[in-house]
Each structure stands twice: as structure tokens, then as C-alpha cells.
Amino acid sequence: MNIWDRLAKIPRSFIFLIIGLSVFLPLLFKFTLPLNILKPVQEVYDFIENLPEGSSVILSCDYSPDVLPETHPMAIALARHMARKKLRVYILTLHPAGTGLALDVYNRMIKEMGARERKDVVFLGYFPSSTATILGIGENIRNVFKADYFGVPFDSIPAFEGVKNYNEIRLAISISGAALPEVWMTYANGRYGANVVAGVTAVMAAQLYPYYRSKQFIGILGGMRGAAEYEKLVNAQNLATKGMNSISLANFVMILFVILGNIAYFMQRRKRR
């Protein structure tokens, strides 16, 4: 077996080992690779940055622990920005496995970001019917949010003062590993003209770009890169930025394997001729 035959038949276990190392090793070292901010993320940042203090925003953490590495850093970075802008944030989840993660974002806003409980941030918990919830908010949020997650009645929550429906809610952000941002877009934006932002995994982001181009989404945070870009914008580089180091190296290694495979393929073809 000559070298080209070996390169054409690299064992899968070896490929897996190298990929594993290229993901793991960057996590051990502290460094930040350069990252440009792309338009879909910049537009989200600019929109939130231009919101006046006290504006109401829905942050819907519609994701499960499976997609935590890509989506949770997005939620935290967005929450950090909204806390800094002193917006009124209503955190909820439309995913059955999302309550714990949404609660984590809420707790971080209070403990780390200086948000005041029930004045700057409210945690509403899980709502089983996504369509009914999104449509219900469009009519009257009192019909949907009777009390917060901890049982405090709606009328006792200062953050809801003067808010009736999407006319007063300036932005709805849906962070998800599935199709829930499209549900927000269809009903909140489609029916009530609400501003909607999507935060999704990299695979789902490709599916949502048509809606971003047609301005049905204000912007999209796509995958770990989107999360890392937003962390950079809010000056709080953390999980996503570290993760980008691993992704960058792993992608680079994948490209190297593809190049090696192609070189071997062409050399073998040449030999056969």
C-alpha cells in the first residue's frame, strides 16, 4: 500500500481521534481568535441598542439542553445587553424541557446583571401551546400571563405596567433549536406586525435566512458564531467565544482531511492512467 492508498483510506477511528483533540485542546488554553460582526447579528444589536429605557421585550428560551452550547450563550448575551439597557424583559419558554435553562437566564439577570426582580425582569415559566400563547399575547397578555412562575399575580408585577399586547412589546426574541422562531414569525409578526428576532442553531439558521431577507425577522443569531459575535458586541466574551476556538480548529482540520482525501484521489487516478 503506497502513501496515496493510505491517504485515501484513513481509518474513521483516526479521523474521530483528531477531531476529538481539535475540539478539546482549544478549551484548555485561553485565547481569542478574531471575529467580524456580520449583518444579521449587528442588526439585532442595533435594534436593542436603540430601544428606549423601560421598553418591554419578550425573551422566549425555546430550547432544550441538547442544543445548550449554541443557544444558551445567545440567551445570556442578549439578557446582558437588555439588562444594561434597563429594558423590561419577560422570560418564558415554549419548550417542555426549556424551563430550567430559562430560569438560569433569569437568575443570572438578577444575580450578575443587576436586573430587579419583577421590575426589570419577570420569569413566566413554560406554556404548552406555542400558537395559543403567541396569539394570546397579541390580543391581551393578561389572558396568557395570569401570574409569574413563582405565583405572584399579574397585577402585582410592576414590569407589566402599561403593557397590553404587541403594540407595547417592542421585540420578541425566540431562541430555539427547532422551528419555534418560525411560529413566532408567523403569528407575532405575520398577524400583529411584532418585531421578531431568531436565535437558532447553525443548521436551522440556513433555513431562516429567507425570512430575514424579507424582513420578517429583524435579525438572526446563527449558531455558536452568532452567539460569539453578540458576546463580543456586549463585551462579555464567554462560552460561545471559547467554543468558537474549538469549532474553528475542528473545521480547519476537517478541511485538511478533505484536501488530503482529494490529493490521494487525484494521485491514484493519475497512477491508474
Partner: protein, 203 residues
């Protein structure tokens, strides 16, 4: 008659569902909500049959000595979790909840993360410049895989914007074309079943 009645039911229910989409008001919403409730009821019934099928299959495997250990683990997990949930409860902090959070969730995440390895081996195996289309696939994969990571920013300031352009323009155009075709296919399939033209589900 045996065939006509199911086809008639499918047609009437399909027509009602189609018209309901275009009609507003509490009656229309009520019909839709009733359907959803019935659907959930049917799901509940179906899961009983599904669990019986699962148990039968794995018990047969155990009796025949075929993949015994996997089948035993499946049956133990299924009935173990069911018993925990039914008799001890599923509240936060319960054993059921802990097993879900510390066993099920990490297992799901682990299986999901296998994608990274499989992607590498699939790319190595399949991305060969055999034809013009394969070369285009290869080049766009290079541009996107490098362009949307930090190495892309290091190679050139414009590479990430070019990669984003590939997503925003050619990718978007192709997606829209596929989505249009899929939408027509979905309508055609639905109409074929409603009108009784496609009867493979019935024969």
C-alpha cells in the same frame, strides 16, 4: 362500500380542515381546538399499542436469546422509569427527575455531539472532486466552513462577508426553489388523498 366510507370521511374532514383555515371567528377556532384535543386523545391510545408492541418485540428477543442484553436493558429502563414516575412522582428533585436530568439529557447531548465526528468522516469520504457539481460542492463547503469561523476572519476580512453572501443569495435562491416545489408537492399529496386518488393507505 368498505373503501368508499373511509374515502368519504377523509374527503369531508379534509375539506372542513381546508375551509377552517380561511374562516375566522370563535366557531372556526372551536373546531380547530376540538380537533387538537381529539388528536391528543388518539395519540394517547396509540402509545398504549406502541408500548405493547415494544414489550412484545423485546420479550421475544429475550426468549429467543437474540440481542438479549439490549432488550433486557430496554425493558428494564421502560418499566423502571414508568414505575418511578407513577409511584414516586415526577416533581423537581425526585428520582425520576434526577434520572432524566443526569442520565437522559447527557445521553441525548452525547449522541447529538457524535455529529461532529460523523460530519468529518462523511466530508472526508464524500467531498471528492469527481465532477463539476462535486467541485462546486467542495468549493462552497470550503468557503463556508472556513469563512464562518475565526480562521476566515484571519485569512481575509472579506471572507466572512463572502460566506454570508453565499448563504444570503445562492443558498437562499435554491432554498426558495425547493420550498416552492415542496409546497406544491404537499398540496398535491393532500389533494390526492382527499380525492381518493392515492389509496395506498387504504389498500
Amino acid at each position: 362500500m368498505k373503501r368508499q366510507i373511509p374515502i368519504l370521511i377523509v374527503f369531508l374532514v379534509g375539506l372542513l380542515g381546508f375551509l377552517q383555515y380561511f374562516v375566522t371567528g370563535p366557531i372556526s377556532k372551536g373546531i380547530y381546538n376540538t380537533w387538537l384535543e381529539w388528536f391528543q386523545g388518539v395519540q394517547g391510545m396509540a402509545i398504549i399499542m406502541a408500548i405493547i408492541s415494544l414489550t412484545k418485540r423485546h420479550w421475544t428477543n429475550v426468549r429467543k436469546g437474540k440481542n438479549t442484553i439490549y432488550s433486557l436493558i430496554t425493558l428494564f429502563s421502560l418499566y423502571g422509569m414508568m414505575s418511578l414516575g407513577l409511584f414516586i412522582g415526577i416533581e423537581k428533585g425526585s428520582l425520576f427527575d434526577k434520572l432524566y436530568e443526569y442520565v437522559m439529557v447527557p445521553l441525548n447531548a452525547t449522541t447529538f455531539s457524535l455529529l461532529a465526528f460523523y460530519m468529518a468522516s462523511a466530508a472526508y469520504r464524500a467531498f471528492k472532486a469527481r465532477s463539476m457539481e462535486a467541485i462546486l460542492l467542495l468549493l462552497s463547503a470550503f468557503v463556508l466552513m472556513i469563512g464562518l469561523t475565526s480562521f476566515g476572519d484571519m485569512i481575509s476580512k472579506n471572507l466572512p462577508y463572502f460566506a454570508q453572501w453565499v448563504l444570503d443569495v445562492p443558498n437562499l435562491a435554491a432554498q426558495r426553489g425547493i420550498v416552492l416545489g415542496v409546497a406544491l408537492g404537499v398540496i398535491a399529496t393532500s389533494l390526492k388523498i382527499m380525492l381518493g386518488i392515492e389509496r395506498s393507505w387504504l389498500e
